[in-house]
């Protein structure tokens, strides 16, 4: 018979899997390196930017389009927060509990490295051997530094009232625009969820230690109830408020850096064929919103491509060329030719701001009167003042500008 032996199980990770003070100090300021150290995830340049924005901004709205790698960065952000910050509680909200289980929780299996696994667990005596709890209403991942990632079933039908009293340091709301469209979703976010991010933190005024909220979802059309929220974020960013950030990447935003398979990120993740299908099956506005991650006001194009093509067809017929000045214009010496200058001045302040533009419109009477037309029309008039007003009233007869040319200068 074997005598009973007291076996001491240490709750501390083995020495080579511990997070040292130096590691902590370095990784806290470089979450991208931390993602590699803990999860062996090599992030693309765009995803690295995303993670840094999440890490250093208290309130973020990510309106990137589909297949731009949002959910994986969300998972990395949540778990890095838990590993690197002591006693940090992170809430994860998906539109339904099941979607969260399928899309978010699967990464715990996928990116389970020894160093990360060593940080999981509970210090409490009775449940020491267990770190993950999958209760019917909430899935939780505990960490040895008293941090926790919790994904509760949100219950938006009851306006997320089941979460009253819940307190977290960081909150991830995935597909928040879809949640807003669901019954009780908008109230759930506004009345309940945003008020939950009030757990005491180490320093509320520090970009890393403070409490954070990340909302991520593809952009929507301007009639969406979330558009107002997006505009508020944009306004704060324009004001220069460092507590807010809103940004959007698209499926095109993959770099030529090599990923873990040896291919470039672009070749690995950018599925042009699939996205082309999506482009064809959606309206241009919807595709710009969901594919390219651009919030769209509900609108109609004021000019149609037929109008521009008709103008170009006219130009082709008349062999129009750009003109640079009266001196170089072959018709410049014609006394009947007139030039009209339109100016839109603008100080060019940035890449996205308008630039100043000047365009010249050339007008001359159309020389298409033939003797036959002349006979049919009858007596000629020699000047046009009264007539010109008649053109104004009847734009259909406004053939005076038949031979216009334009030229642009920057």
């Amino acid at each position: 018979m074997i005598p009973p032996v007291n076996i001491l199980i240490s709750t501390d990770p083995p020495k080579h899997l511990r997070i040292t003070q130096t590691m902590l100090e370095n990784l806290l300021w470089d979450p991208v390196m931390a993602a590699w150290v803990f999860f062996k995830i090599k992030l693309d340049a765009f995803q690295a930017v995303r993670l840094r924005i999440y890490w250093l901004t208290p309130d973020v709205e990510d309106h990137s389009g589909f297949t731009s790698g949002k959910t994986i960065v969300d998972w990395v952000w949540c778990n890095l927060s838990a590993v690197l910050l002591y006693d940090c509680h992170i809430g994860v909200i998906f539109q339904t509990f099941q979607i969260g289980k399928d899309n978010f929780w699967q990464y715990y299996k996928e990116f389970s490295t020894p160093l990360f696994r060593a940080q999981l667990g509970l210090m409490e005596e009775e449940v020491r051997e267990k770190s993950q709890f999958k209760e019917p209403g909430c899935w939780k991942q505990h960490f040895k530094n008293r941090s926790m990632v919790a994904m509760p079933a949100p219950g938006f039908l009851q306006e997320a009232r089941n979460l009253a009293g819940w307190r977290v340091n960081r909150l991830l709301i995935d597909e928040w625009t879809k949640i807003m469209m669901s019954a009780g979703g908008a109230e759930g976010i506004q009345k309940q969820l945003l008020g939950r991010v009030t757990r005491p933190c180490y320093n509320a005024n520090h970009p890393v230690w403070c409490n954070n909220v990340v909302r991520s979802a593809t952009a929507e059309l301007g009639n969406h109830p979330g558009f107002r929220v997006h505009r508020e974020y944009e306004r704060e960013v324009k004001r220069g408020n460092p507590d807010y950030w809103t940004f959007g990447f698209s499926y095109e935003n993959y770099s030529n850096l090599r990923c873990h398979t040896g291919k470039t990120f672009k070749d690995q993740y950018r599925d042009e064929k699939r996205l082309r299908t999506l482009k064809l099956s959606n309206t241009p506005e919807k595709f710009r919103a969901e594919g390219l991650g651009l919030w769209q006001k509900q609108s109609k194009g004021w000019y149609t491509s037929e109008m521009i093509e008709a103008g170009q067809a006219l130009g082709r017929q008349r062999k129009l060329e750009p003109i640079l000045s009266r001196a170089t214009d072959p018709l410049g010496k014609d006394p009947e030719v007139r030039y009209f200058l339109g100016v839109d001045p603008a100080p060019s302040q940035g890449q996205r701001s308008d630039e100043g533009a000047i365009m010249v419109l050339r007008a001359r009477p159309a020389p298409w009167r033939t003797p036959a037309i002349s006979r049919a029309i009858g007596p000629r008039t020699s000047s046009m003042p009264g007539r010109s007003r008649a053109w104004m009233r009847k734009p259909g007869a406004g053939c005076c500008t038949k031979s216009t040319r334009t030229s642009g200068f920057r």
């Binding site: 651009l294 109008m307 103008g311 009209f340 100016v343 603008a346 020699s382 046009m384 008649a390 104004m392």
Partner: protein, 192 residues
């Protein structure tokens, strides 16, 4: 005739144009001042208008503007007029730059090539000008009952082109002083 947009610094450019000495390519040059058409104090080319509802020529072109309370009304009127001109085929545009044969451009100076590219850009920018609608597709109006325009891209060339067309229409109102039509072309001026 010049129509200068008031926004973006137009109000500062107008006084500069009134000067009789200009620095052109680093050299001080005597020039004829360019002044507002209503100006009577300075001798010069009376060809300048501001794209503003307070401008006399703009008020002549759209008399209703005197009752308007905002520049949104002017923008709506000008964009509508420009849209009509484009839809009626009244404005010819050079063909897109990428469709132009290389041989055709032999001997073109660099500026002309750029002008061709920028005119293509004008077409692209014009297509990105949008008017806001509600969920039913009706126009969303401002408090002055004007459409709300915006662009999904830069709209500088669209605005410059539209202003050039506005300049033409202003000139057309009283062009009798300077523009006469040849006998052979007079029949074109008939009204239907």
């Amino acid at each position: 005739m010049i129509v200068l947009d008031l926004g973006g610094g137009g109000q500062w450019i107008a006084p500069e144009l009134r000067k009789s000495k200009q620095l052109i390519r680093g050299i001080q040059v005597e020039t004829t001042p360019i002044v507002f058409r209503s100006s009577s104090t300075i001798e010069g080319h009376l060809i300048l208008c501001l794209f503003s509802r307070g401008d006399e020529d703009i008020k002549k072109l759209w008399p209703d503007l005197k009752h308007a309370h905002g520049d949104d009304v002017l923008k709506d009127a000008a964009n509508t007029m420009f849209q009509t001109a484009l839809s009626k085929g009244m404005i010819g545009l050079p063909i897109p730059h990428h469709e132009r044969a290389r041989e055709e451009m032999i001997g073109w100076v660099e500026e002309k090539v750029w002008a061709s590219k920028l005119l293509t850009l004008f077409g692209l920018q014009t297509l990105k000008v949008q008017a806001e609608t509600d969920e039913q597709g009706n126009w969303k109006l401002t408090k002055n009952n004007s459409r709300r325009f915006f662009s999904t891209d830069k709209d500088d060339f669209h605005d410059a082109g539209r202003n050039a067309y506005v300049a033409f229409r202003i000139w057309l109102l009283d062009c009798d002083a300077g523009w006469s039509v040849n006998e052979r072309d007079a029949a074109l001026c008939r009204s239907r």
